[in-house]
Amino acid sequence: MTTVNLQYYAQMREQAGSSGEKLTTQAGSLRELYDELRTRHGFSLPADALKVAVNTQFSDWSRALDEGDTVVFIPPVAGG
């Protein structure tokens, strides 16, 4: 089990109902983590429409999770 800090932006923040949370997960990779979160929060965006960053660096979806990682999901936004 790994405990990570999650941050949500834009419509993901809305769908999750908060701008972040601490989560203990069995997910082995960012992709698995996102799949878990989609079920949990009903995120409408597929992973390939998003960017993911870990500890303020953009990451690959296959990256493994480390204890205490801060994971940020970033969708493109359009407002002006």
Binding site: Y9, A10, Q11, R13, E14, S19, S44, L45, A49, K51, A53, T56, Q57, F58, D60, V72, I74, P75, P76, V77, A78, G79, G80
Partner: protein, 531 residues
């Protein structure tokens, strides 16, 4: 009868005044312009007016009509003199009668300001010293553009016939507060004066961008915007007033920029850039600031920036947060597609209309764009970053994420190659959107209809013509539905159908089109839901 005429001889004022009598009128207001004895420090002995009569009468009539419609007054008349006039002679007369006094005053003011601005009338001043000079009458201040009492930049000499007015000196900008910065100085100011910056979108982001760049003395500002001002814009688009509603933003923005800094040259475009001209337009500018709420425009701008090597400052907002990214246009630096390779389907990225936004949020992000623009133009420290900046104004968190170019377009041939292909594809697809006023015209033209709306939407507003339903999210699942003949995809607004049509064209189905503007753009016929 036209409310405007040109008179070569003296005018009968009593008769004019009587012509404005109206049983519903509770007020009458008139303005008289007289020839005064000085202009810009020179003693004037008389004036000569010359008009292009035919055009002046048409345009003058329009102005009077506009004033009547705009302020709801009951009657208005204007006469402009031509020929030789002596000191104290009447040069122009305007009279307005209305139910209440306020609109009479305003309409009167509107007419004189517009006449000074728009009428093909030229004025030759005769000086006591014996010489003469033609004086331009245009570019006078128009009070109705900014009726707040404190915004009065008397940028131009006031017209000579405003008797008693003290002529203000020509506006000279004072940039001392920024040239005092060691990194700016006179050399920096000269760079700004020589700079050409294009601002795409004059909305929530564009307002602070244009305001600050004009104030800073950027020599030329290009403005692109196709929209007209709506009441729902005013909470975040701070350049505009309630009375501007319905006017083209690009015109309002141009006037505002000129009022703020008359030394700025403004170039306006009322049509959005398109794949056919984006690169060509970008190449005319030193820097572009992307301020639209349109993802398509953002991707087009990124491609054009990469292809022309023009630095681009992107920003977008969502509710209480925003993103900022600088595309430098330099080989090896990342672009928008390095982050999100393809434009997301409509509805995936929220817009201000759909998701809402707090007014100051685009204000903050637009201000940051203006700051980045000045940093780039001046070559200030920190200007070279291409990090993606995430700004959350609820908890004040700002995250800087370095973009690794090796993880982006480089895997698909590099930003340039990716941009070139994207523009080419977009140009190929310019015929995707087709216009019809009624759907049976599409059928008569040989199109087969596919409705890409969700089942619930179709149930709510069915189309009573033969069509097949394939929701936009599933459009690429079975390409056999497109086999044979021309196919027209349709949705509520044309956005989803346009995106879907481009997707399936990308899969080789070149016979697929989209109903431009969607069902919303069709003409309604009585007794029919749509068609």
């Amino acid at each position: 009868m036209s409310g405007f005429r040109i008179a070569a001889t003296a005018v009968d004022l009593a008769q004019l005044r009587d012509s404005l009598q109206h049983p519903g009128s509770g007020g009458f207001c008139s303005f008289e312009g007289w020839v005064r004895n000085n202009n810009e420090g020179r003693e004037v002995s008389g004036l000569e007016y010359e008009a292009y009569d035919a055009l002046a009468v048409i345009e003058g009539g329009k102005i009077v009509d506009e004033a009547m419609a705009r302020y709801g007054v009951l009657a208005a008349q204007c006469v402009h003199r031509t020929g030789n006039l002596k000191l104290g002679d009447l040069a122009v007369w305007i009279g307005v009668s209305s139910a209440h006094r306020d609109e009479a005053f305003r309409a009167c003011r509107y007419i004189i300001d517009e006449i000074k601005h728009r009428l093909p009338i030229w004025k030759k001043e005769h000086y006591l010293t014996g010489d003469t000079a033609w004086v331009a009458c245009s570019h006078t201040e128009r009070a109705h553009e900014h009726e707040a009492p404190h915004v009065h930049h008397h940028a131009h000499p006031r017209p000579a016939e405003d008797a008693g007015a003290v002529a203000a000196p020509p506006f000279r900008p004072d940039y001392s507060r920024q040239t005092r910065l060691r990194e700016v100085g006179d050399a920096g100011q000269a760079k700004l004066a020589a700079a050409r910056v294009l601002v795409i979108g004059a909305g929530g982001l564009g307002c602070p961008v244009l305001t600050y760049l004009a104030g800073a003395g950027v020599g030329t500002l290009g403005i692109v915007d196709a929209d007209r001002l709506d009441a729902s814009n005013l909470h975040r688009q701070t350049m505009y007033d309630a009375r501007d509603i319905g006017e083209r933003k690009v015109d309002l923005a141009a006037r505002r920029v000129t009022a703020l800094n008359p030394t700025v040259t403004v170039e306006t475009r009322t049509q959005p850039l398109h794949p056919g001209n984006a690169a060509e337009v970008f190449a005319q500018y030193d820097l572009v600031v992307e301020c639209t709420d349109d993802l398509g425009s953002r991707y087009l701008s990124s491609d054009a920036a990469v292809l022309t090597g023009t630095p681009l400052i992107l920003a977008s907002v969502y509710q209480y947060e925003g993103q900022l990214q600088v595309v430098s246009g330099k080989p090896g630096d990342p672009c928008l597609r390095c982050l999100w390779p393809d434009q997301p389907a409509p509805g995936v990225a929220g817009s201000c209309v759909e998701s809402g936004v707090l007014g100051p949020v685009p204000g903050v992000l637009g201000t940051m764009q203006a700051n980045e623009a000045l940093k780039l133009l001046l070559g200030l420290p920190g200007a070279a970053t291409t990090d993606l900046l995430l700004v959350n104004l609820l908890d004040h968190a700002i995250q800087r994420l370095p973009v690794d170019p090796s993880q982006g377009c480089r895997q698909h041939g590099g930003c340039r190659e990716v941009a070139r292909r994207a523009l080419e594809q977009a140009q190929d697809d310019t015929d995707v959107d087709v216009h019809f006023e009624h759907l049976d015209e599409a059928i008569a033209a040989g199109f087969r209809l596919i409705d890409v709306r969700e089942p619930a939407e179709i149930a709510q507003r069915p189309i009573d013509l033969p069509s097949q339903a394939v929701s936009s999210g599933k459009i690429t699942e079975d390409t056999s539905v497109f086999a044979g003949g021309r196919v027209l995809l349709l949705c509520a607004s044309g956005k989803r159908s346009g995106h879907a049509a481009r997707l399936v064209r990308g899969q080789g189905a070149r016979n697929v089109y989209s109903l431009a503007g969607g069902l919303a753009a069709l003409r309604r016929r009585p007794g029919r839901a749509a068609g």
